[in-house]
Amino acid sequence: MSESSLDDPDPSSRLRSAVAAAGRLLPAQGPISIFIHHNTLHAFEGLPFEEAVVRGGELLGCEPYLAEDRYRAELARGRIRPADLAAVLREDLGPAAGELVAGRLTRLELRLAMLGQPVRAISGSELEWILGETAVRKHPHLWQAALRAAAEGPPPPAPRLVRHRDFLVAAGRGDPDALVHPLLIRLCAAFLDQGLAIWPMPDREEGLYRAFQRLYGRGGGPPEPWARGLAAELRRAAEETAEESALASLARLGVPRDEWEPFLTATLLALRGWAGMIRQAELRPDRMPAQAPPASLVDFVAVRLLLDRLAAAHLDGSPPETLRARRAPPPPPPVSARERAFLLFQVARSLGWSPAEVSPIGGEIEAFPEVDRRRVFQLAYERRHRIAILDALAAHVSFPAPAPRFQAVFCLDEREESLRRHLEEVDPAGETYGTAGFFGVAMYYRGASDARAVPLCPVAIRPRHEVEEEVVAERRATARRRARWRAAWGRFAHGFELGSRTFTLGAILSWLLGLYAAARLASRVLCPRLAARVRHHTERLVGTPEETALALEHRPDVRPALGEQAGFTVEEMAAIVRRLLEETGLVSRLSDLVLVVGHGSTSLNNPHESAHDCGACGGGRGGPNARALAQMANDPRVRRLLGIPDRTWFVGAYHNSCDDSIATFDLHRVPAHARPLLAAAGAAMEEAAARNAHERFRRFEFAPAASLEQAVAHVEARSQDLAQPRPEYGHATNAVCIVGRRARTRGLFLDRRAFLVSYDPDRDPDGAILARILGAVIPVCAGINLEYYFSYVDPSGYGCHTKLPHNITSLLGVMDGHASDLRTGLPWQMVEIHEPVRLLVVVEAPLERVRAVLAAERLVRNRWIQLAALDPAANVIQVFDPRSGEFAPHRPESAALPRVSSSRRWYEGRTGHLSCAVVGGGVEG
């Protein structure tokens, strides 16, 4: 027993705080059915980005950047230019760049040479093989010269061993985690299960530790030799709480108190998906889809340490208390002269040195190690992209904006950029706006055919209001009848699913429905679109009637199931509408028709479906928000309060970003004078959506070049196809966020890569509106961008790798195959076309206002996003340098933008990322 834990006045509070601190490093992903994008390394945001990716990567065993070879390929194809590397290195080295390192070579030249050709640190038998078999043999004199110039170096840092497992693995005694994890995974999955198992875990309402103790504390348990003492151990400590058990285990494992935090961190991270989900269930029980068992990370730690202890003792053959001291590996040997000579040899080769020119610059080479080279590559990669975007913004001349005939407000989502661009191309009299896609309406919403209400607002907000969709009075009888049919059908279908897994019912269903299942299998595999249409028509027979209305009005007598208040008061509605009109700058330009377009996505066989929905709606679908906002803005009392012109009418709509369909709401209420205009705008929207489908189409490999109709049919089939792991590409390729007037970006082809936020700098003298907008927008966009960055840079470490073996577990997440850690992050199929660059935020506002609002922001200061300010009055851009805290003017490299007559002209026949171009605007080409 370690002395220190006895001396401590309150070891259990120390334990709790150590567990809490370690817990903050666990993945923060909640249940997968409400997928919320967030910075994968959120816990490290207090550090500068470049430091955080290295520190986080070391702790989590993940890659900080792409591999050098990947960057070198980008260099070869011109995506990174040598000038970018030189500029980054110059900034990196400062005055040291020009110093001579080998008599006649500057440090800058040396480093550029090291970036141009691979310089691999190789040791052991791999080195001997290379020396014997490859390039070295062709240049024996150079090799000899390098060998003469190189000397032995200090030993590399010893690998960090923390857990008993690390020591056992290093000593070749086997991996205790291979024993512990299968059991622990089963336990966590059963404990957290949201209804997948027919038989729920007994006693789980008493917490994981107690349930485990009751289950495994009785005799006749698992016959595995390592777990032989488990039942006795649990019975002996029957009265202990989880905390006491964890403390006892720590003592028995011989972990002194000052090592608790790193030890527990490593222990939790060993199965971090499951530990993270336990923590999420503890912190946000309200977000569990069905039931929230009383989860506690301390329980998890107690169970885990107990199992770890038994497994380590089993493999080691003696009590684990002194294991870490006994099994400490010998320190690593010094870096041999041959290893260092090989580095020198590679550099000499890439510099084209003759043997006589080789000089001892080993230290200089080692001062620019692999991780630094990758960092420089990444910065150069981002620099090229930044220059291209800023050049385009600086060169783009605003189109003259006539008074709009109609306007459309979209979500700021970068996938809506193309839809907006096409809409403006189809009908130049239309004008579009972008704002967070919940449109300021934060609510719990229950649709007429939904079983429960869901929050539709950013995850940081807890809605106060609940809104229900109701079937209109004259259709209620039909609705009730259909609901009964629907319920019967639902019970049958669900009963079938569960029943087919049981003994008798499973047999009966196989006898009776085998042929039907075969026909369904064939139809859904061979013609998914037709099968889906048939299914939808059948469903519509028992579906909720389409004549519904939102019960938006405040009802003081109704107690809502969720939230505090049923419906909104007139004042609340007016405040919401006012805010939207102010933030977008619509307030002074209202036309006769304003479309409010929310978005979401539907797809089949896709556990990550919710990740394609609207981030501003907290992974929900924004149609109801758009509908609610339109209804609020059309309310005569609200209009009186805000002075909205009588002729202006708002219409809510919903864009499905997967099949590119558009739905509009409450058309029967549209007044006669607005109907012709709505018909025209609606037709333009349909056309724009079809063109949008066509533009998306180019990214799908092997999708044949096609007409608009074929493209629409294709994306529709994609969304209904069981076999389609890429129903849409989601946020992949996102890279830019532009906050400002649409005039500055209208007609600019941004390749679906830019979040577009409307903001009118002329109507916000004190910057209050800007602060409000950015406060909501930056965390959401940066979260999306960084999640894509990390899932792309290390698909199996930060992301959840390929979807193909994914296995839905506990209705909470996915595992790889039959028993793995819960996989968090994004699957490769979602990110494969992404470019990992940090979000470039461009704000159209006076410099001082941008500085006041953003310069102190942690994400900016620590370089998790890039920031630039666009002058509202001129095409002048200033780029923020977080190191100096100053803005520096952007000097465009090219002043001309390509001009084409339409978006299609620009993208047709090309599949990769596209640079900016001016499209439409009456240009021939």
Binding site: I32, R186, A189, A190, D193, G195, L196, A197, I198, W199, P200, P202, D203, R214, L215, Y216, R218, G220, G221, P222, E224, S449, D450, A451, R486, A487, G490, R491, H494, E497, S500, R501, T502, F503, G506, A507, S510, W511, L513, G514, A517, V525, N605, N606, E609, F702, A723, P725, R726, T802, L804, P805, H806, N807, I808, T809, L811, G817, H818, S820
Partner: protein, 425 residues
């Protein structure tokens, strides 16, 4: 074309596919995705059409043998290959071609841009060859060859994602279980051959053999392994490491039911071995009960489905043991379809739950079963199910570990003796 020609042509198609895909892989020039997709679809569509046409031509003829040739023969022993066409084999062959084709079309989209795309289709085609050999075989030689091919392709697909350790470990485990159980089929074949001088099935059906009961039990050993019956059932959930479409066809429909098919095929043999039939019934029922119990506590989609498969395959075996062959065939084909569809749809589970909840208006929370038992017994039973009836652990502790220990002791003895006699080096 006559029925034998049609069936033969249909059976050769997947073989051609294996040759083409395999050759392309061998020279490191895998076919493009669209080309592979078209080839696979055309091959299985052709095979399906061939089997259906052959079945039509066979109307009224109960059974036909199609000799393919003799490998070699010595006095009294003939190693021949022949197909046996009848209702059972043609129905199952058509079914296998249909499922392989559907899964091929599905996987063509599902595995798009996957690095192992070409390898997957090669293994799928190989599997189809194996299954068709088992199904159409007219002698035990072909059954055994097909049986081995099916086992090998299954294990390789379980280990499809070979850059991670778990799929490889589990693939190896599946392979080892298969190989151990294959001893049964091989030994049965040798016994039959020894007595009859040929592995011809019609010969086996015609005359009782003296070792009939022993042969039946040996076949049952092989079937228990391939169809994941007790005590070998632990491999089935572990096989869920591969891509979803291969799990669907292997463990929902064809591979896991191949054992049941072989029992149907050899049913004349079992008719003369009542003890073996009783054993089949017992094995099937115990497995079904065990799988139904264990399946109840599974918390992930694919393991739940794999235990559901195991339950039904156990029941099918019991039906065969009872002699209800037609019922068993209908059960087998129906179950294969239902389960394949469920496996392919398993990533939709969240969406389906959501729909079901909305339709019903809130689903009831699951309730603890067996409430007539005392709480302690229920917990014991729950743990028993959660630990998958301790089958794997028990096999490891009571079979594998002693076996390895014995081998190690023998190895030690050998070293000691050879050191004594050969002199120390």
């Amino acid at each position: 074309m006559s029925a034998p020609e049609l069936a033969l042509a249909a059976a050769v198609l997947p073989l051609l596919l294996v040759a083409i895909l395999g050759l392309a892989l061998f020279v490191r020039r895998p076919l493009s995705e669209p080309a592979t997709g078209i080839l696979v679809a055309a091959c299985f569509l052709g095979a399906l059409a061939g089997f259906v046409a052959a079945a039509v031509r066979m109307a009224g003829i109960p059974r036909r043998e199609v000799p393919l040739g003799e490998w070699f023969g010595i006095a009294g022993h003939h190693f021949e290959f022949r197909l046996l066409l009848d209702r059972l084999s043609l129905a199952f062959a058509a079914y296998a071609a249909l499922l392989c084709g559907l899964v091929g079309v599905f996987a063509h989209r599902y595995l798009h841009r996957e690095p192992g795309y070409a390898r997957f289709f090669f293994l799928l085609a190989l599997f189809a060859v194996g299954i068709l050999m088992i199904v159409l075989a007219g002698d035990m030689e072909l059954i055994f060859a097909g049986w081995e091919i099916v086992g090998l392709s299954s294990a390789l697909l379980v280990a499809f994602f070979h850059d991670r350790p778990l799929p490889v470990q589990n693939g190896l485990r599946v392979f080892v279980v298969y190989r151990v159980c294959d001893i049964g089929l091989l030994a049965a074949y040798i016994l039959v051959h020894h007595e009859l001088g040929t592995g011809r099935l019609t010969g086996l059906f015609a005359a009782p053999i003296t070792a009939g009961t022993l042969v039946s039990f040996l076949v049952l050993l092989a079937v228990a392994g391939k169809s994941a019956q007790i005590p070998f059932s632990g491999w089935l959930p572990r096989a869920m490491e591969g891509p979803t479409p291969s799990s669907a066809i292997f463990y929902g429909a064809l591979s896991v039911q191949a054992g049941a098919f072989v029992l149907l095929r050899l049913s004349p043999l079992f008719e003369r071995a009542p003890a073996a039939r009783a054993a089949i019934v017992a094995l099937g029922l115990v497995t079904a009960a065990h799988a139904a119990l264990v399946g109840r506590v599974q918390t992930d989609a694919k393991c739940a489905l794999s235990y559901a498969s195991m339950t039904q395959v156990g029941l099918i075996l019991a039906e065969i043991g009872l002699g209800w062959n037609t019922l068993a065939l209908v059960h087998l084909l129906g179950h294969g379809s239902v389960r394949s569809l469920q496996f392919l749809r398993s990533p939709s589970l969240l969406l389906e739950r959501h729909h079901a909840e909305n339709r019903v208006g809130g689903l009831p929370a699951p309730r603890e079963p067996f409430r007539f038992l005392p709480a302690g017994a229920r917990r014991w039973l729950y743990r028993f199910a959660l630990e998958r009836a301790y089958l794997d652990a028990a096999l490891e502790r009571f079979v594998v570990a002693p076996f390895l220990g014995a081998i190690r002791r023998l190895d030690g003895l050998e070293r000691a003796w050879s050191a004594r006699w050969g002199g120390r080096r």
